[in-house]
């Protein structure tokens, strides 16, 4: 109906289908050739980057080879890298090894190996090679932030990916969790004095001081309740209106946090200064003594405190991922997916819409609250800035980039984007400035870059990097 001239998007789609019609080998050659063509000129700018892209091309080519030559080529690749970059060779060896396992083992081996590598990460971090363009591997501190963001993205995935409710104010839950920790484990309410399992502080300090281990589930539950309270009136609304309402809440709460230093005389949030310091988690003197000093009294004063934070975050993440998988396969999770695919049909099948949506909201809020609670304790502060709309969009882009509805995809997307946020973009900027003698400060343009990522993904690969099969079918049925 658009007349004779093809619109750019039509032309693109035609090109895409022509590409898919090419024989597999031809496509492979083209991709490898293209990568090589990119690698060679880049190699003149930065040799190691050229080599890296060439290696990626080689890896991609290898993955399409038949079994036996693939094995030979992989061994050759490992041997080739063994001398200059032993850490890279080791990673490649593990990586290839996992993919040579039979399929039913691979299902468990892949996450198992990834988890083991993550747990051991603080120990082999300094032995790792330098990535061309991106620089060093992320530090353990960055790792904590990454894990927290992954946790949030997995939580948001319940709301957006499973139930299909676009939440543009997810950061509110995160900040709510952060403020819950701040209230329950700091000097904020110095009118009262209550210590329950507090570690690493003198017992004469005023204020509420609960153990962080206690606060994390409490914060989760309180945030989930907040999610229900926000959700109950608003979940009746259709998708885009709901998005705006969540955004509205996401804008009201930071203002309350900013103005909350004097709510008719009561200091609730300490205004723009935020609440700081917040107590650190820890195991207390008794456990410290019993374990012979392995478990620290508190994470803040312990020399390996960073690692403890990292492992705690990993533990929370594993629980979150497990819970999300179980939720997805439960009766409730299937109801969410049914609502996402067709609300009216789902209602006709007897799914209670409001209750099911509210549960999605509450579950998503719970994980947001937990991650916020933990992260506040890690940062030892809660600020109104924690509520920024950009963070909501940041987390949403993780979910979209990775593939809505697929936990593994979301994890990859979140790890990638949160790494870019913390270190990657700055490193890329430094690389560009070094090799092209420019002086661009990349990090301020972060939100624009993420905006571009969202648009490109929605236009060209709406199912994300690692799509869930069901979601993919859904997205492609219309066009």
């Amino acid at each position: 109906m658009s007349g004779a001239a093809l619109s750019p998007s039509d032309r693109l789609r035609a090109a895409g289908s022509a590409w898919r019609r090419l024989p597999a080998l031809r496509r492979l050659k083209l991709i490898v050739g293209l990568l090589a063509a990119i690698a060679i000129p880049l190699g003149f700018v930065d040799t190691s980057l050229g080599i890296a892209i060439a290696a990626v091309a080689a890896l991609y080519g290898l993955s399409k080879l038949p079994q036996r030559p693939k094995l030979v080529a992989q061994v050759a690749l490992i041997v080739a890298f063994a001398y200059p970059e032993p850490s890279l060779a080791a990673i490649l060896a593990v990586f290839f090894g996992v993919f040579h396992l039979p399929a039913h083992l691979r299902r468990f081996a892949l996450p198992g190996v990834a988890l083991a590598a993550a747990i051991a990460y603080p120990f082999f971090l300094d032995k790792l090679f330098t990535i061309p363009l991106l620089g060093e591997f992320p530090s353990v501190n960055t790792g904590v932030a990454m894990v927290v963001f992954i946790m949030m993205a997995v939580g948001l995935n319940v709301v957006v990916g499973y139930a299909g409710l676009l939440d543009l104010g997810y950061v509110a839950f995160y900040a709510f969790g952060a403020y819950t920790t701040a209230w329950l484990a700091s000097l904020q309410f110095s009118q009262v004095k209550l210590h329950i399992g507090s570690v690493g502080i003198t017992h004469s300090l005023p204020g509420l001081h609960l153990s962080i281990w206690l606060i994390i589930p409490i914060a989760g539950v309180i945030t989930a309740l907040a999610g229900v309270i926000i959700g109950l009136p608003t979940l009746r609304l259709r998708g885009d209106y709901l998005a705006i309402v969540t955004l509205g809440f996401g804008e009201i709460l930071p203002q309350v946090a900013r103005n909350g230093a004097d709510l008719s005389g009561f200091n609730l949030t300490n205004g723009p200064n935020g609440i700081t310091p917040i107590d650190a988690p820890g195991f207390g003197h008794t456990l410290h003594r019993i374990t012979g000093g392995v478990l620290p009294v508190d994470f803040l004063s312990d020399p390996s405190g960073q690692n403890m934070y990292f492992w705690t975050a990993l533990g929370l993440l594993v629980v979150t991922i497990f819970a999300c998988f179980r939720l997805r396969d439960s009766r409730l999770g299937r109801a969410w997916i049914a609502i996402r695919e067709d609300e009216i049909a789902a209602a006709a099948m007897g799914i209670p819409l409001m209750r099911t949506k509210t549960w999605a909201y509450a579950s998503g809020a719970f994980f947001g609250g937990v991650s916020g609670a933990f992260y506040a304790s890690f940062k030892s502060a809660a600020f109104p800035g924690d509520f920024y709309f950009n963070i909501s969009i940041f987390i949403l882009s993780m979910v979209i980039l990775g593939g809505m509805g697929n936990i593994w995809g979301v994890i990859v997307g979140a790890a990638l984007l949160s790494y870019l946020d913390r270190e990657g973009l700055a490193n890329i900027g430094a690389w560009i400035n070094l090799h092209f003698h420019a002086s661009i400060d990349v990090p301020p343009y972060e939100s624009g870059i993420f905006g571009l990522i969202i648009i490109l993904v929605m236009l060209f690969r709406p199912e994300g990097l690692i799509p869930s099969r069901r979601r993919r079918a859904e997205l492609h049925e219309g066009s």
């Binding site: 109906m1 979209i400 969202i454 709406p462």
Partner: protein
């Protein structure tokens, strides 16, 4: 809850003249606000009228942006998230033209000032209109058959890109222009002072609004717009070029946002890369308040929101103050969406439960 489904299909049994809890609560709220306004009027009548006039001008700026939301929503059912940033872009373009091309000062002669301002209006409208149409082509048109939320997500992305374009272009600080509009009094009765710049805002806005009404109600293109908004497929069958009509709608919406940006910059004398986001949300609230998709509704909603903001920030007797403006406006948005999604002037839609 199975009642959810039933209430959509079954006619309402209760007679309409029986007020429900929503009606009672809403009336109480309105009464409370009116009481607050009247108290303020009795205490400081001069301030009250001055703030009222200021609020009208503010509402006029909001109306220009709100109309863009409403036009686009009417035709595509898309909340064009990038619209507020388009407004900001228009403001930035005008500011750059005022500063660097026309180099206007604060005491410009009238025969320099008015042609330059007129040129700025044209330029800002043209730039933003074309930009908006381009955005539609790139970011929304390919997703026309995708799930509803897809274009909303790209719109969010577009909003961030626009912000960063301006951030890269003019940096993170406010771009300040000299106050080129005359600031002398139109009249000064008692303690009510009405300045020329406030009046000029209205003098620019109202003709634009009238022109838009003429365009939509009286021209052939407007007819095509209304037809497309009503039923896209049927419109296509009647020989309307739907894509071109949608592009045209985005062009008009963008032009209004551009004009709004220019007026805002002339009046408030400063703009920054993130000025559009919040103002866009407030204008969206105005559009929803009036009934989204409804043109007079958007103007009414914008006027109400402009007045609410002005009263909240200006009145002295127990006003929450500027710190809370955003919370108040978004609370209104949430209340309206939850209890009366069709807005003040809108008709019942499937959205209204």
């Amino acid at each position: 809850m199975s009642t959810d489904v039933r209430s959509e299909t079954m006619p309402r049994r209760l007679p309409r003249n029986l007020p429900g809890p929503t009606g009672i609560g809403g009336s109480l709220l309105v009464l409370l606000v009116v009481g607050w306004l009247l108290t303020n009027l009795a205490k400081t009548p001069g301030d009250f009228f001055q703030i009222l006039l200021f609020g009208l001008s503010l509402g006029a700026v909001y109306a220009l942006v709100a109309l863009g939301y409403t036009l686009v929503y009417g035709i595509l059912e898309l909340i064009n998230f990038a619209h507020g940033d388009l407004f900001m872009f228009g403001g930035t373009v005008s500011a750059v033209f005022i500063l660097e091309v026309f180099q206007l000062g604060s005491q410009e002669r009238w025969y320099v000032l008015w042609p330059s301002v007129a040129a700025c209006v044209v330029i800002a409208m043209a730039v933003c209109g074309v930009l908006n149409a381009l955005i539609e082509m790139v970011a929304y048109r390919p997703l026309r058959n995708a799930p509803r939320l897809a274009p909303l997500i790209t719109a969010v992305g577009m909003s961030f890109i626009l912000q960063d374009v301006v951030l890269g272009w003019r940096g993170p600080n406010y771009i300040t222009v000299p106050s080129v509009l005359p600031r002398s009094d139109v009249f000064n009765v008692g303690s009510v002072e009405y300045r020329w710049d406030e009046l000029i805002v209205l003098l620019v806005t109202v003709p634009l609004l009238l022109a838009l009404v003429y365009l939509v109600q009286r021209t052939k293109q407007g007819k095509a717009m209304r037809a497309t908004a009503q039923d896209r497929e049927a419109a296509a069958m009647m020989g309307i070029n739907v894509n071109r009509t949608i592009s045209f709608t985005f062009l008009v919406a963008g032009a209004l946002a551009g004009a709004g940006g220019l007026i805002y910059v002339l009046w408030q004398t400063q703009v920054r890369f993130d000025s559009g986001f919040r103002l866009g949300l407030i204008s969206f609230t105005a559009a929803v308040l009036g009934g989204i998709g409804n043109l007079p509704g958007a103007v009414l909603g914008a006027t109400v929101i402009g007045l609410i903001q002005a009263f909240n920030e200006g009145l002295s007797w127990s006003a929450p103050g500027g710190d809370w403006t955003q919370s108040i406006v978004f609370s209104i948005l949430i209340l309206i969406l939850v209890f009366r999604p069709e807005g003040l002037l809108g008709e019942k839609t499937p959205e209204g439960q």
